[in-house]
């Protein structure tokens, strides 16, 4: 029960309501009793359809009554097809006898059975446009009917979306019927554009759009959601929308998706760090890899190769795994690692006591000149808006994201400043901004680490800002020493990542 305001009523009004309710309860009980009795007796007839509709009009969520209607429909279809078979038989007899008259076409009767169900669902959707049951019954009826008019259903969606452009049931139904009616994706995209033009605050329409674009304008490298050219146009469109009402979140969400990395196609677990030495080996993945034990890991050097077996998880998320079997490392040989179609070339440690591999997180996607120009223009527009509205939350966040899309390293400090500002103007989500700042900081720190002289044995957090979390902790599994603040260590507790030095040989 949603959205029913509690109102003060007079004694008189309450009495009246009570009487009215008592009548309704009695009517419901009587109808329900009659329906169940008829169902037991197998009377799936027109009276049954009439009885169920009485209750459904008021309360379309009574699933069982829809089930009974479906039983009635199936019964009618059966009867009609039997009658048809019967009449075909008699046709033959009549044809033989030379008669010419034909009975009423059973197809018309069948269509009127389906038509009645569609009408009932339409009436019920007027009462409750969010009734799962009524929508499902409509889908079911249409699927039963080989002659269903899908175009008409598309029109119905257009109508319903005018009443409520955010009703997700209508959008779901729209996707179902446009597929059946074979509406081209281009046409659906135009429909979305029209909807968004009428009202920018329409997350449902932006969502529908996000499904269409990657198929209509695919990106070959899959590092962006769609082709660069289309992306540029979308960025332009969405910024206009966002600036129309900067407090409305719909367009900003879409904008952040556009600036993101596109569909993650990496099915195979991606190795980000590996180190081996006489005490064993550690391996870290970009994302948790709970099924790592099932993968074949092969270490090879020249013509020789060895299976690395018996791995154990080194963290609770299973992003890092350790192997405590000794490895006979020879420093004059070069090694490589093979697992699930990836071959990784290992580098020797500067100290000569092992080999390793490391790739820092978030390698920025390359940007065409045109796209870069667009991003610069957008950033400038955001800065202009911030002049007038320095506390505009979405503008602060989006400009930080734009800066990072343009050059994350050069704009690092400035993007962090925006997050500090956001902690103030959007205090509800302080915890989120703190963690996001930690992410951006670690991305930079890990990239710097890879080029430092202490790499990979010692990791020092050089950032001045106080971190409250340590994202990308798995990348540090190859270090021996972690130089972190005492506060952070305390905060992390047993979530502090294990280092390679802590790897002990099995007894």
């Amino acid at each position: 029960m949603h959205g029913r305001v509690k109102v003060r009523t007079t004694e008189e009004e309450r009495e009246r309501k009570k009487k009215e309710h008592a009548l309704k309860v009695r009517a419901y009980r009587a109808a329900m009793g009659r329906i169940l009795k008829k169902r037991d007796a197998g009377e799936l007839d027109d009276e049954m359809l009439g009885l169920t509709v009485q209750i459904l009009h008021r309360n379309p969520d009574v699933t069982t009554l829809w089930n009974i209607r479906r039983e009635c429909v199936l019964e009618k279809i059966k009867q009609l097809s039997e009658a048809e078979a019967e009449s075909n038989k008699s046709d033959e007899v009549q044809a033989e006898a030379g008669a010419e008259e034909k009975p009423a076409a059973p197809e018309d009767k069948l269509q009127s059975v389906y038509g009645q169900e569609l009408n009932v669902t339409e009436q019920c959707l007027m009462v409750n446009p969010k009734s799962y049951n009524a929508w499902h019954h409509r889908c079911w009826t249409l699927e039963q009917n080989p002659q269903a008019d899908w175009q008409r259903e598309v029109q119905l969606c257009n109508k319903y979306l005018k009443y409520d452009e955010r009703n997700f049931h209508t959008w779901d139904f729209r996707r179902f019927v446009t597929a059946k009616a074979a509406v081209p994706a281009e046409q659906e995209l135009d429909f979305c554009t029209e909807k968004i033009k009428v009202n920018f605050s329409n997350y449902s329409s932006w969502h529908h759009r996000s499904l269409l674009l990657p198929t209509l304008y695919p990106n070959e490298q899959r590092d962006r959601p769609m082709s660069e050219e289309k992306l540029q146009q979308e960025l332009e469109m969405v910024l206009t929308a966002a600036f129309t009402d900067p407090n409305d979140s719909s367009a900003w969400f879409y904008q952040r998706w556009l600036l993101g990395g596109g569909a993650q196609a990496d099915q195979a677990p991606k190795v980000v760090a590996f180190r081996m030495g006489v005490t064993g080996a550690v391996i870290a993945f970009k994302k948790p890899c709970p099924d790592f034990e099932q993968l074949k890991v092969e270490l090879s050097s020249n013509e020789d190769s060895w299976q690395l077996q018996s791995w154990q998880p080194a963290d609770s998320r299973r992003t890092t795994w350790k192997n405590q079997t000794p490895i006979d490392y020879q420093k004059d040989r070069s090694y490589s690692l093979k697992l699930s179609e990836q071959e990784i070339k290992l580098l020797p440690l500067p100290t000569g006591d092992g080999a390793f591999y490391f790739v820092p997180p978030h390698a920025a996607s390359s940007c065409s000149k045109e796209l870069l120009d667009e991003l610069q223009t957008q950033l400038q527009s955001c800065f202009d808006l911030l002049e007038y509205e320095p506390d505009s939350k979405w503008t602060l966040l989006t400009s930080a994201l734009l800066m990072r899309a343009i050059d994350a390293t050069a704009n690092h400090e400035r993007s962090l400043e925006h997050l500090v500002e956001l902690e103030k103007v959007d205090a509800l989500r302080k915890g989120y901004y703190k963690d996001l700042a930690a992410c951006w900081t670690l991305e930079l720190e890990l990239a710097k680490w890879a080029t430092s002289i202490k790499f990979p044995k010692r990791f020092e957090l050089t950032s001045e800002s106080a971190l409250t979390s340590l994202p990308y902790g798995q990348y540090l599994a190859i270090a021996d020493e972690l130089e972190l603040s005492e506060e952070l260590k305390e905060e992390l507790g047993d979530r502090l990542p294990q280092t390679f030095a802590e790897l002990k040989l099995q007894e």
């Binding site: 699933t63 959601p225 969400f253 509800l428 989500r429 915890g431």
Partner: protein, 342 residues
């Protein structure tokens, strides 16, 4: 029984900074749930018989969280549940005379787990009902009439988990594949079917599903967590989709999902607690969807459950995945997956 001892002041009686915060109307809520359904001719009660089994689950769970389970007749409830098991399919109907459905099958099993009474029913028949509703693409029908929805995937794995029959019954990998086919690239959220818009209620179902099947690594936690924490509005309440009104039940769907994902600290717990408490009906007891609206049993569970997840005093702990008292989940030795903070 004197239950006033359960009532504790919300902030230790100091009342300094939080002077304006309402206190939990403990006794009134207990009375509200206890009285719910005592008047069988009540209009609301009669009109909601199509979901009675879930209604009982909401009431039983809320009372148990408040430590007042003995206010309801255990025996009567178990008898009712037993009468609703369909002898042909093994599934449960919401009440007598209605048809069995996945939704009410989960509610029935949840009630029986709380009462430690699974031995009272034919559990193998329940397993058969659920297994029979899985489709070749891994999805689940709600009943034989073919509606597909991620809610039913959640119901299926939750029921089987409670019955300890998830292994070697359904095709888990296929079921996971279907859930992931409903994941949206834009926001990391989930809808009711592939391509459907993200919605907090369905996100709870899918995150809960992945928690029960121990596949939370498949989530894009940063993306989804951000979208979820953006559901919190100025009032402290959470909505279910962008630009919608806040609601106590959405507060639960979002709050539990964030808890499972280890990202509860991305919203303001304090403000959310204030919002939930503002949705109490101080006269009749019970919680409504929003401040000033009519209370109902559904929002009462999610109000109490939300407060429990936020650590409100005087309430038993609730499990975010199964929305059942934690001690019951422990008693069954079930461990839904939960992610740690970054």
């Amino acid at each position: 029984m004197d239950f006033t001892t359960f009532v504790k002041p919300t902030n230790g009686g100091s009342g300094d900074a939080d002077a304006g915060i309402q206190e939990l109307q403990f006794c009134k809520h207990v009375k509200y749930i206890e009285n719910h359904g005592k008047q069988e001719d009540d209009y609301e009660y009669c009109m909601t018989e199509f979901l009675r089994m879930s209604g009982i689950y909401w009431g039983v769970t809320a009372l148990d969280i408040m430590g007042q389970l003995d206010r309801l007749e255990r025996k009567h409830i178990i008898e009712f549940v037993k009468r609703c098991q369909c002898s042909t399919t093994g599934g449960f109907a919401p009440c007598e005379g209605h048809d069995p459905h996945m939704l009410y099958t989960l509610s029935a099993v949840q009630i029986l787990c709380t009462y430690d009474a699974l031995n009272e029913i034919d559990c193998e028949a329940v397993v058969r009902f659920i297994v029979g509703l899985q489709q070749p693409d891994g999805s689940f029908f709600g009943d034989k009439w073919g509606e597909v929805d991620t809610r039913f995937s959640f119901c299926a794995v939750a029921t089987l988990t409670l019955l300890k029959r998830m292994e070697q019954t359904i095709d888990i990998d296929k079921a996971v594949q279907f859930i992931m086919s409903c994941c949206n690239q834009t926001d990391g959220g989930f809808g009711s079917k592939p391509g459907a818009e993200s919605h907090a209620g369905l996100i709870y179902c899918c995150v809960g599903f992945l928690s029960l099947t121990h596949r939370l690594h498949l989530l894009d936690v940063d993306k989804l967590g951000w979208w979820l924490c953006e559901r919190q509005l100025g009032s402290g309440g959470l909505n279910g989709r962008p630009e919608k009104l806040p609601d106590v039940c959405y507060s639960w769907w979002v709050l539990s999902s964030l808890t499972i994902m280890g990202r509860l600290h991305w919203i303001s717990s304090e403000k959310l607690q204030q919002f939930i408490l503002s949705c109490q009906d101080a006269e009749t007891g019970g919680f409504s969807d929003r401040t000033g609206n009519m209370p109902d049993i559904f929002h009462t569970l999610f109000g109490i459950g939300g407060l429990s997840l936020l650590g409100h005093s005087g309430l038993k702990a609730i499990n975010p995945t199964l929305c059942m008292p934690q001690y019951i989940v422990d008693r069954l030795a079930i461990k839904p997956q939960i992610l740690s903070r970054p």
